[in-house]
């Protein structure tokens, strides 16, 4: 029997824990979290503010040291690596997109300059023309016109355009995984849908794996295949999105579902069908 039927694990967390403070003020922001993510999957991490979603995202991006536990990428223990020199390869494979594009964009740089700096992460020696080609392709991938945006600064772009630039930036180094932490929260409804569609197309076209952190179940439901529900630092429920939202097992998931606003009512309708 071959192993080919088994889904490969791309990213794995084993007993991942991060504690802030100590003694009386100890906060177990991420508390013994374990999971496995397969290539090409879109997984949503949902939960209320303070549930540890963003801390988990930052741990997985290796921007924050875990207190204990392991992160494995293609079977290799990433938590053993420290410092930019050793993590560079990992950061090429795992890219983050954050909540506020204005905060993560150097306001003195043009779009072109920010993107070129990201390209420097790559070990490939590219000619100027090749670099330019890559930048233009990345921008077109997210529905932006390179001739229009490359020379502009962040103040000349709208929030939605800038967030798409941040997605293009993340895609430049051709990562295996994109971790999007509330990347669409501050956008207006109509733009939000556009960005979610961009992510969904990227998965379809490039087989990209996406970890999507959100407090909005509507977005999680629209975009993802699987969902992890976080509560007080723990994953209290996980499974295929239809299943979890159709038949929530944990009391917290049920509460979350009941509090979702709908047009003219409260509570998700999935469970009622």
């Amino acid at each position: 029997m071959t192993l080919s039927n088994e889904p490969l694990t791309l990213l794995e967390a084993r007993h991942l824990t991060r504690i802030f403070g100590g003694g009386e003020n100890e906060v177990r922001a991420v508390d013994d979290v374990s999971f496995a993510i397969h290539p090409g999957e879109i997984v949503a991490i949902v939960g209320e503010s303070g549930s540890g979603k963003s801390t988990l995202a930052r741990l997985l991006l290796r921007l924050l040291e875990p207190t204990s536990g392991q992160i494995l990428f293609r079977g290799e223990d990433i938590t053993a690596l420290h410092g930019p020199r050793h993590l560079k390869t990992y950061w090429r494979e795992v890219q983050g997109i954050f909540q506020d594009p204005f905060a993560s964009f150097n306001q003195f740089y043009s779009v072109g300059r920010v993107l070129k700096k990201t390209l420097d992460l790559s070990d490939e020696k590219l000619s100027r023309a090749e670099q330019q080609q890559r930048l233009e392709l990345a921008l077109r991938n997210v529905g932006l016109d390179p001739t229009d945006v490359l020379k502009k600064g962040s103040h000349q772009l709208s929030g939605g355009q800038l967030q798409r630039v941040m997605i293009a930036r993340a895609l430049l180094v051709d990562p295996e995984i994109v971790i999007a932490d509330e990347s669409t929260s501050m956008l207006d409804a109509s733009l939000r849908v556009t960005i979610l569609n961009v992510l969904s197309e990227l998965r379809a076209r490039l087989q990209m794996t996406i970890l999507f952190v959100t407090h909005d179940i509507g977005q999680a439901y629209y975009l993802s295949d699987r969902v992890f529900v976080m509560y007080h630092g723990q994953i209290v429920e996980q499974g295929p999105v239809e299943e979890v939202l159709h038949d929530p097992q944990h009391a917290y998931t049920r509460r979350l579902m009941a509090d979702v606003p709908r047009l003219g009512g409260w509570g998700a309708k999935v469970a009622a069908d």
């Binding site: 209320e48 503010s49 303070g50 709208s158 929030g159 939605g160 355009q161 207006d188 409804a189 109509s190 733009l191 939000r192 849908v193 556009t194 979610l196 569609n197 407090h215 909005d216 179940i217 509507g218 977005q219 999680a220 439901y221 629209y222 999105v241 239809e242 939202l245 159709h246 509460r255 979350l256 579902m257 509090d259 979702v260 606003p261 709908r262 047009l263 003219g264 009512g265 409260w266 998700a268 309708k269 999935v270 069908d273």
Partner: protein, 341 residues
């Protein structure tokens, strides 16, 4: 309460002013919650600050009046809402209000400061007593007055600031994105608190400003849709969410993502493009560059207001459709029915 033809522009050093609020009119009856919805940069927050505070060094009120409790105020001449009205008659619950608390003083001190600012004779004990009675009346724990802000959750801080901002029983509460930094459970709790404030007759009217139409539909009795500084459609919540007329309202309704079966299976298209530069708004209808139904006339002429003063849309396309309907165009009626179904 009535707002008539309000205009508020931001002065820029060079070039034309930013017309953030451009000719906004609406009425607000007792017990009503008027929702104002629109994307970032459409002038929602400017409207909130003009109605509750006044002009600032860069924001100029270029016209308009406010009628409240039988008194009419010329906002342009007065430079905003009269000072003695602020907090007492019109109160603002600003964006990110929960971060407006002083981290080094107790909530009770904040309540005292707020009351003292409006009535210098009030003493500390009275103020805290009043605040604690109010909290209990609304089903919130009075012990929060002894707490420091960091000891409370974001949702609780937001509820407490809401209660304190209505301590003086203002006629109107202007809530500017009060729920945008909260998770869904806290959003629901805040909406219930606001409804309770109306039921207990602490306040009699709310203007609720947000970009979240789904949430808004659960509190507003009427909804005004703003685009590029103007109200493009207004109507009861029911009318707006079940029978939207303006193409922009339709796009907003269409792009709400609800966790309901079937949503996953179809692709929902958002609006393309971005909101216009309000220094040089597009000619004719300001929405025409992004509108799927734009016609030649839309690029040239200001769209007409179709409907009554309580329920209208400003749009050439809507006008055509209504005229076609009036002529008894059966096909159109059928298409319309199919669309709303």
């Amino acid at each position: 309460m009535e707002v008539r033809d309000l205009r508020a522009y931001y002065e820029t050093k060079a070039g034309p002013p930013v017309k953030a609020v451009d000719g906004v009119s609406f009425t607000l009856d007792e017990g009503e919650v008027l929702g104002i919805v629109g994307e970032s940069g459409c002038g929602k927050s400017t409207l909130a600050s003009v109605l509750s505070l006044g002009a600032s060094p860069t924001l100029r009120i270029k016209g308009g009046s406010l009628v409240l409790n039988g008194e009419e105020v010329d906002l342009e001449k007065m430079g905003g809402v009269p000072r003695e009205w602020r907090g007492k008659i019109v109160s603002l619950l600003p964006q990110r209000a929960m971060n407006s608390l002083n981290p080094t003083s107790r909530i009770g001190d904040f309540a005292y400061d707020v009351m003292k600012a409006h009535d210098s004779r009030v003493n500390r004990r009275e103020a805290i007593k009043r605040a604690s009675q109010r909290l209990e009346q609304l089903g919130l724990p009075a012990r929060v007055l002894q707490s420091y802000p960091h000891q409370l959750s974001g949702g609780m801080r937001q509820r407490v600031v809401t209660v304190i901002s209505t301590l003086l029983n203002p006629t109107v509460l202007i809530a500017d994105e009060p729920t945008s930094a909260l998770d869904v459970s806290s959003q629901k709790a805040l909406v219930h608190l606001l409804q309770r404030l109306l039921e207990e007759r602490v306040i009699t009217r709310i203007v609720f400003i947000t970009h979240d139409l789904t949430l808004l539909s659960n509190i507003a009795t009427r909804i005004a849709v703003m685009y590029a500084g103007e109200i493009v459609e207004i109507g009861t919540t029911e009318q707006i969410i079940t029978r939207p007329e303006h193409p922009y309202t339709r796009a907003l309704i269409h792009s709400t993502l609800e966790p309901e079966q079937g949503v996953r299976k179809r692709k929902i298209e958002g609006l393309t493009g971005s909101p216009p530069d309000l220094r040089n708004p597009p000619s004719g209808c300001r929405f025409h560059p992004r509108c799927p139904h734009a016609m030649e006339i839309c690029t040239r002429e200001t769209p007409p207001r179709v409907g009554t003063s309580r329920h209208y849309a400003t749009c050439w396309w809507v006008k055509q459709r209504v005229e076609a309907m009036n002529e008894g165009d059966l096909r159109d009626t059928v298409e319309r029915a199919a669309h709303t179904a």
